[in-house]
Amino acid sequence: MFKNFFNKKKSFAVNIFPGDQEISISRGETLLAGALRSGLAWPHKCQVGSCGRCRCKILEGKIRPEIDFNYVLDPVDVASGFVLACQSTAKTDIKVSVDLIHKRK
């Protein structure tokens, strides 16, 4: 019963599409913080969950939302998996779709 409690994963794999890049984020670290630490040009601005610039779509896996995304994102988008990377920590390994800055035209 307590096995999972004491053996919590300390980091999670994040696969980023398009491009299929993989980074690792620590438990409790936000997706954006992990991406920036790994040198990725993840779009962002305020980093406090108010501008929406870091939005991305979770394709697989579970995140823990740190705030209510409905203030910034459309509820329809939230229901279809869009999250704010600066306010999302991983609960499992995840696959995520985001348009990194260097990929933009």
Partner: protein
């Protein structure tokens, strides 16, 4: 030893708030101790105006700040502020119903409570940048001052629209602190109202929903209102009103001093130059580094003990000293003018200079030609 020094130095407000509470319970001249301490702090702040420190990190770049200790203190401030209100309510009861308290003691109690409830709002601010329990503690602390809307408005409005006319907390040049306190308070509440309204409409929920954080925030202030009505009737309501006016005035004075006259072009990122730093020794320690606004607004979720000097615009004096100047608008404008001129010349971008010329220089020329 260094760890102890880095962490203990931020205990000035908790210690002084507890001292104020004890003063209120003892009564007599001690009911004024909160006002006395405010005065002492102004002197200490002025004396240390030339001492500026950097954030402390070890050789590996790790901070000396102990997160669990600092958070325990911040969370502990919620019951301390509740006890502060209870102490004032106790004195009100003694004044109204037991008739064992002099009017001078009651006045001292109200002013002491208002000042320290206001100074304690720094914890409400710090915790507003946290999630879940921290955010909720922030809301509860702010609710004690009738300002629960602040927590949402600060994150979703101030941090996004800083230096822009859409941010009620940024004071344009020429505005005085008295006008700003009201305009900023009302503006942030309006923003929070609109934010909730928009969210509830998107979710197809009624305005009178438990998800309406604006409404709930004001309901969190209800226990304070009930306490003061019970302990002092109409006088109690007046006392609470004065406490709220003082504490909100201090909160908005911090916003006023943090961004007065600074400008940011629409859509451009917030940078260090869009805030004024106030980081002399006493201000830094007393206000748990809230004066390091330049760094805070770029790294909004950085722990206060890790915020550092980023060579942004700096008034060169601390918050207490600047607050005294702000109370006399003509003096404040005179003092800040040279700093604003320096900002225009050395910090502003071309587009920001154009905004200065459009809104301020042209206006001055028009006034001069009349």
């Amino acid at each position: 030893m260094k760890k102890l020094y880095v962490n203990v130095r931020y205990l000035i407000v908790p210690v002084m708030t507890v001292t104020t509470i004890i003063g209120l319970f003892i009564g007599g001249i001690y009911a004024w101790i909160g006002v006395f301490l405010f005065g002492i702090n102004t002197i200490l702040d002025t004396l240390t105006k030339d001492i500026h420190l950097k954030a402390d990190f070890d050789e590996d770049g790790n901070s000396y700040g102990i997160k669990i200790f600092q958070y325990s203190v911040m969370y502990l401030m919620l019951p301390i502020f509740i006890i502060l209100q209870l102490a004032l309510a106790n004195n009100l009861y003694k004044f109204i119903y037991l008739e064992v308290l002099e009017i001078s003691e009651l006045v001292g109690s109200i002013l002491s409570c208002g000042l320290w409830a206001g100074l304690g709002i720094i914890y409400g601010h710090e915790l507003s940048h946290n999630k879940r329990e921290g955010f909720n503690v922030s809301r509860a602390i702010m609710a004690l001052s009738g300002a629960s809307h602040f927590t949402y408005a600060h994150v979703y409005n101030h941090h996004l629209d800083l230096g822009h006319e859409d941010d009620p907390a940024t004071a344009p040049r020429g505005r005085n602190v008295y006008a700003h306190a009201w305009l900023s308070h009302a503006g942030q509440s309006k923003f929070s109202y609109d934010l909730e309204n928009a969210k509830l409409k998107k979710l197809n929920k009624s305005f009178f929903s438990l998800q309406n954080k604006w409404l709930l925030g004001y309901l969190y202030s209800l226990p304070s209102i009930i306490l003061f009505v019970w302990s002092g009737g109409l006088v109690g309501v007046i006392a609470l009103f004065i406490v709220w006016v003082i504490s909100n005035f201090l909160l908005e004075a911090l916003n006023f001093m943090g961004h007065y006259g600074l400008i940011r072009e629409t859509g451009k990122p917030v940078e260090h130059r869009h805030s004024w730093d106030n980081d002399n020794l006493f201000t830094s320690w007393f206000f748990i580094e809230i004066g390091r606004q330049c760094d805070h607004h770029v790294r909004g979720e950085t722990y206060f003990w890790e915020l550092d000097d980023v060579k942004g615009p700096n008034y060169g004096i601390g918050y207490f000293s600047l607050f005294v100047l702000a109370l006399i608008p003509s003096l404040f404008r005179k003092f800040t003018q040279k700093h604003l001129d320096n900002w225009d010349q050395n910090y502003a971008t071309g587009a920001e200079k154009e905004i200065v010329n459009k809104y301020y220089v042209n206006e001055l020329l028009q006034k001069a030609s009349k």
